[in-house]
């Protein structure tokens, strides 16, 4: 359960203050599927980053599963990111020197999971995303769709309840983009919250609940759940 109350975020660009978010209220219940759309600079990515605890709001309160996430320190926030949130990025952000399997395993290693357990979960994840035969390849030997599958496997290997996707298909062709979206929607069907930022209205319409951002505010929310 995600609850944002009066979230504001201001960036200093030169001497000018840019209000990326202004008094945003948003509640997302477990298992929801949201798409966040809007023109560039409307604050969609900033919103996603704040939900993902990658960025800190200047004002307002963010409660995640009834915990005040804005009040946590660096280590606690890192733990929340590790266990509750999975990120999928437009540019995949795979570590180039590591193989696909090693990239997927990375969160488990950082979390200090036992090697035996790691191996088990790794093979499950690779199997589930159909990239088991690509496990030993490096990112530059993989196609875009395969790379994003590796990234999704990495995002889900810690079994988080929330998947945050920032333009997950932005760098993919139509076919593999649809594949990736299918995978993400499957994750949502398993009960995970899926929040996807996109500027493609066609993709955005696939979400059960659509949010339109305008100038740092929520312009419209199709499933306003008050």
């Amino acid at each position: 359960m995600i609850e944002l109350k009066g979230i504001g975020r201001t960036f200093q660009v030169g001497t000018e203050a840019v209000h990326a978010l202004q008094a945003v209220d948003l509640t997302v219940r477990d298992g929801e599927y949201l798409s966040v759309m809007g023109p560039s600079g409307s604050g969609k990515s900033t919103l996603l980053n704040i939900i993902g605890l990658l960025d800190h709001p200047d004002s307002g309160v963010y409660r995640l599963d009834d915990v005040n996430a804005t009040g946590l320190n660096d280590t606690q926030q890192a733990a929340v990111r590790r266990h509750k949130i999975g990120f999928v990025f437009q540019f995949f952000h795979l570590v180039p020197r590591l193989t696909a399997a090693e990239n997927v395993e990375l969160p488990l290693i950082l979390a200090g999971v036992d090697p035996d357990e790691r191996k088990k979960r790794l093979s499950q994840a690779l199997e589930a995303l159909g990239i088991a035969d690509r496990a030993r390849h490096r990112p530059d030997q993989l196609s875009g769709g395969q790379r994003q599958r590796v990234a999704i496997a990495r995002a889900t290997i810690m079994r988080p309840g929330i998947i945050l996707a920032d333009e997950p298909t932005g760098n993919l062709d139509r076919t593999s983009g649809n594949d990736v979206l299918d995978i993400l929607e499957d994750l949502n069907n398993e009960g995970k919250i899926l929040i996807m930022v996109t500027h493609d209205p066609e993709l955005g319409r696939r979400a059960k609940r659509q949010i339109l951002m305008l100038d740092g505010r929520i312009g419209s929310d199709s499933g306003k759940s008050a």
């Binding site: 990658l54 960025d55 280590t75 266990h83 540019f91 090693e102 290693i109 950082l110 200090g112 810690m158």
Partner: protein, 401 residues
Amino acid sequence: MKTFDVLRFSFRAATGYPARTLLTLLAMAIGVGAVILLTALGEGARRYVTREFTSLGTHLLIAIPGRSETTGGPPPMLGETPRDLTLEDALALKRSSAIRRVAPVAIGSAPVAWQQREREATIMGSTAEMFDIRQLSMAQGRFLPAGNPSRGSAVCVLGYKIKSELFGNSSPLGEWVRIGGRRFRVIGVMAAKGQSLGLDMGDIAIIPVASAQMLFNTSSLFRILIQAGGREAVPRAKKAILQIIQDRHEGEDDLTVITQDALLKTFDRIFNALTLTVGGIAAISLAVAGILIMNVMMISVSQRKTEIGLLKAIGSPRSQILRLFLSESAVLSLIGSFLGVVLALVGTWASLRFYPNFPVTIPWWALTAATVVGLLTGLVFGVLPARRAAGLEPVEALSRR
């Protein structure tokens, strides 16, 4: 995160960029290698000099008549007349338990002649114990026989140079030579030893001390060579010599005793200072290597910004990023130090092969110190880049592609 995984991650990160890693390792290896090798050279020089000195004879003390004041200060009000050292003085020294051997030395110059050939030479009068004290060795025959030192027999031992000048290639053993008008039978020839303590050992003839005193018509000794019972007995021996001679000279302190150890210690100090200086100079190259590591890690941090952002996104707290980057520079410097040690070992091996007489030795402390310092250098110079990595804002780091 498990320590093993931290190390493995750092190792993979290092091998992921082979060119920069190799260059860093090279710099580190040269730095550490230089420190070890140069200290080894210094240590080698010290041992070389020490060895040369011990070849003069071990635990040697030299008693010289007269007082040589080296402390400065005003001259004594009452004139001191140094007494001569006599053979009896020398023999009296044997009473001390700290003294193992005593060799009185009387010296003079006289012509040595055999048949028609004659030559001026230094004549040294001494006893059988001279042989062991100066660690002499014989080429032919034997040294002066042991016996009552106050009775002079008519035998002599020749230096190798005199022998070849008087006798050529024929054997002198059993022949009679004239030294200063007296006849002496040649019983031995000394092996070539070269110069020691300013006396050319090839250019002298050694006769019993009593004979020398008779020959030069004197009862005094040039000096007394004393061998102490051991290295730790040297100070005791020195005290005993001064005491015994003072007692025999009616309480007058008119003797100078030089110890070989004092000389050696001075050289020891000089060479230790030299080793430290040279090691210090080499340490500069180690510092340069450290700065290079810092430089490389800085570049690494900016190259891997997105990776750092990603690590944060998938749940690395600041402290973990710090640990990862620190351990990477630690791994780099550790491997570099190891290569440096190998480099130094190869260097000393080569040096020993080409200059076997010069004992280049790696002191164990230099080995440990250089490795530890190498590792510390890596860690210290790794702190800044690691902190920079840890402080990156994930959003900013991930915005790059």
